[in-house]
């Protein structure tokens, strides 16, 4: 039963009971004999009783209603509270699951990121503007710098602690620069980085390990473009560094080997240009000479001419470092040496043409290389056409045309070209020699120049091969270690004089005699009769050489005969030779100015 109905019932019961009792007591007190029957029968009494009962009943009913209302209100509040609680609970559960999911995702992402960061080959750490290392440096960072706790420490002390104070100050200044210069780009800051490459020394299990580390920085900015962190990216480049050193060494060796060529391309394109021009002419001459060869004849003079040309190509190409061209000419030369003094038959002829083709192909390849080099050298010039002041020097083809128009070739060029021959020959023969050209004269015309150059080229090669002794031998003889080859050019009585001296061993008469006898140039009886001067003359005959083996420099017997030919036949000059046994030679060539 509902509470609100209970209370009126209590009221009725209590009202009836109490009113009866009080009425009864009242009459009893007043001395009236009263019974319940009398009360019921007396309408007034009954009315009073009923009224009192009613009043009490109403009062109780009211109390009951009031109570009920309070109770129901309380219940409602309770209910609302519970609902609210439930709702809140639901919401918080939902939220927490969402958070959990997000956390899960985040953890996944951080794990992925960690995996990525830890698998990156670079050591990574972040520092703030106080140079303090923050959490999140990766495994590679630890691998590079050793297993310690870096977090919260200054990068300058903990990582670069082994560097000297000057270096540390440099890094501190650099980091300040990074945090304070907002307009500077990352690349310019990396250019200013003092530890782009540094050596890191650590002791691992008692062994001292030197590693070469490279560092790069990356600036991290917030949404307001303020620099908040710097990321350091470290790489262990020890292996690359070693490889680099190795490559550099190889490069150095290579550069040393081709230093002349390198120097030429760097400074003196004119010498190369002359070689190329001469090569062009020589090849034309060769093709003409080869056509002149007649079958079933000895063709001695033609073959000598051919040998002379090929020998020059071989020597000059070698001096300039064009090895392949030099080798092919060398093969050509040996072949001709083989058929010298023999009758040229059809088979020989075919072979000659084959060798010429091979040389010609090589020359074409060489031209291609030179052309490519020229293009490469003129690349730096952006839009030369629109720049009137631009350096037109790079345009080699132009300077070549200009050059060819010049009639007089200066002795400066002769000095450069002959010096080149001297350097390459000395290096090949493991000897030391200095070449000097002294003159106050300007130069000679193109035709004379070529003849003179060829002549001195052979003289210098022979001086180094046969005259100048090895450095050790020279020291033993009390001579300076380095040999001297001097060419003085001057005017005398309207003629131009070329005075060539070397301080080598001079002509070895015994050696010349033996070789002359061996090769059958002279007979034993005849040689007994010959003066020293006459013996020396043998050297200048075609095909004579004192060398046992033929090498690139000399020994083919071509060289010295060229001298004779050039001086007498071509230059119409005079030639005197003084031999100072053990002390050197002196050659004086006089030609008409």
């Amino acid at each position: 039963m509902k509470e609100r109905y209970k209370w009126p019932v209590y009221g009725i019961i209590l009202g009836l009971g109490s009113s009866f009792l009080s009425t009864f007591m009242f009459f009893k007190q007043t001395g009236v004999d009263i019974t319940i029957k009398k009360i019921i029968n007396n309408p007034l009494s009954l009315l009073i009783v009923l009224l009192a009962t009613l009043v009490l009943c109403l009062v109780f009913l009211y109390i009951g209603i009031l109570r009920d209302r309070i109770v129901s209100q309380r219940e409602e509040t309770e209910k609302n509270k519970k609902e609210l609680q439930k709702e809140m609970m639901d919401q918080s559960l939902r939220l927490s699951s969402e958070i959990n999911n997000a956390m899960e995702d985040l953890r996944k992402y951080t794990d992925q990121l960690d995996t990525i960061v830890n698998n990156i080959d670079s050591g990574i750490c972040f520092i703030n503007n106080e140079s303090i290392i923050e959490t999140g440096y990766n495994d590679t960072f630890v691998q590079i710098f050793g297993d310690r706790d870096y977090e919260g420490n200054s990068i300058i002390n903990s990582v670069f602690g082994i560097l000297d104070d000057k270096a540390k100050n440099g890094i501190a200044d650099f980091l300040e620069l990074c945090f304070t210069n907002k307009t500077a780009s990352e690349s310019i800051l990396n250019d200013a980085n003092p530890i782009r490459e540094f050596e890191f020394v650590q002791i691992v299990e008692g062994a001292v390990i030197h590693n070469v580390i490279s560092s790069k920085i990356s600036i991290i900015k917030d949404s307001e473009n303020e620099i908040i962190k710097i990321m350091f990216i470290f790489n262990d480049i020890t292996a690359e560094h070693e490889l680099q050193t190795e490559l550099e060494k190889r490069d150095r060796d290579y550069a040393k080997r081709y230093s002349i060529m390198v120097a030429l391309f760097g400074n003196d394109k004119l010498v190369i240009r002359r070689f190329i021009d001469n090569l062009e002419g020589d090849m034309k001459k060769l093709s003409v000479k080869i056509k002149e060869i007649k079958q079933n004849e000895k063709n001695t003079s033609i073959i000598e001419d051919i040998l002379g040309i090929v020998h020059s190509i071989k020597g000059e190409a070698f001096a300039l470092g064009f090895e392949k061209l030099s080798n092919v000419s060398g093969e050509f030369e040996s072949f001709f040496k083989g058929i010298r003094n023999k009758t040229v038959d059809l088979e020989n002829n075919l072979e000659i043409i084959g060798f010429f083709e091979k040389l010609n192909n090589e020359k074409r390849e060489f031209d291609k290389t030179i052309k490519a080099l020229e293009e490469f050298l003129s690349i730096d010039n952006i839009n030369t056409a629109s720049l009137p002041e631009a350096d037109k020097e790079l345009d080699l083809s132009r300077s070549r045309d200009n050059y060819l128009k010049h009639e007089v070739v200066s002795f400066d060029l002769l000095r450069k070209e002959l010096n080149l021959i001297n350097v390459s020959a000395a290096r090949e023969m493991d000897k030391k020699s200095i070449f000097q050209l002294n003159t106050s004269l300007n130069g000679v015309n193109e035709i004379k120049y070529k003849l003179l150059k060829e002549l001195f080229l052979h003289l210098i090669r022979n001086s180094i091969a046969h005259g100048i002794e090895s450095p050790l031998l020279r020291l033993n003889k009390g001579k300076p270690e380095v040999g001297n080859i001097i060419l003085n050019i001057f005017n005398e009585d309207g003629n131009t004089v070329f005075e060539y001296t070397d301080d080598g061993n001079g002509f070895d008469l015994e050696k010349i005699k033996n070789r002359a006898l061996e090769s059958g140039v002279v007979t034993t009886e005849k040689i007994e009769m010959m003066s020293n001067a006459e013996i020396i003359k043998i050297v200048f005959n075609d095909g004579f050489s004192t060398s046992e083996t033929m090498d690139v420099i000399s020994g083919t017997g071509v060289g010295m005969s060229v001298i004779k030919k050039n001086v007498f036949k071509e230059l119409k000059g005079k030639f005197t030779l003084s031999n100072l046994p053990g002390k050197g030679i002196k050659i004086k060539i006089t030609i008409q100015a």
Partner: protein, 121 residues
Amino acid sequence: MKALIVDDSRIMRNILINILKETKVDSGDIFDAPEGKAALEILNLEKIDLLLVDWNMPELNGLDLVKIVRKMDKYQNLPIIMVTSEAARYNVVEAIKAGVTDYVTKPINARIIMAKIKDYL
């Protein structure tokens, strides 16, 4: 987009002008000056968006020019590329301190400088 080239060599200015034209800067918007003081006049008259500056110049040199430009209100965030033959690290540091944004060393490579310019266009 207006660019100013400051270099005492006319050839260098021409090269840089050609490079800027390649990067699609209108030729009417390319200004040039042979040294710092002339450059400052242009900087005052125009609102320049990119400054290419040499270091060694007569009168007012590049570094001092950059220092003055950075003090001007309208050029606080102006990209300044220094094109110079001074390549040592301490030169770079000095340039950063003056307020240079980027740095290209001579002899210049057209492709590198073009890539850098494109970053700031």
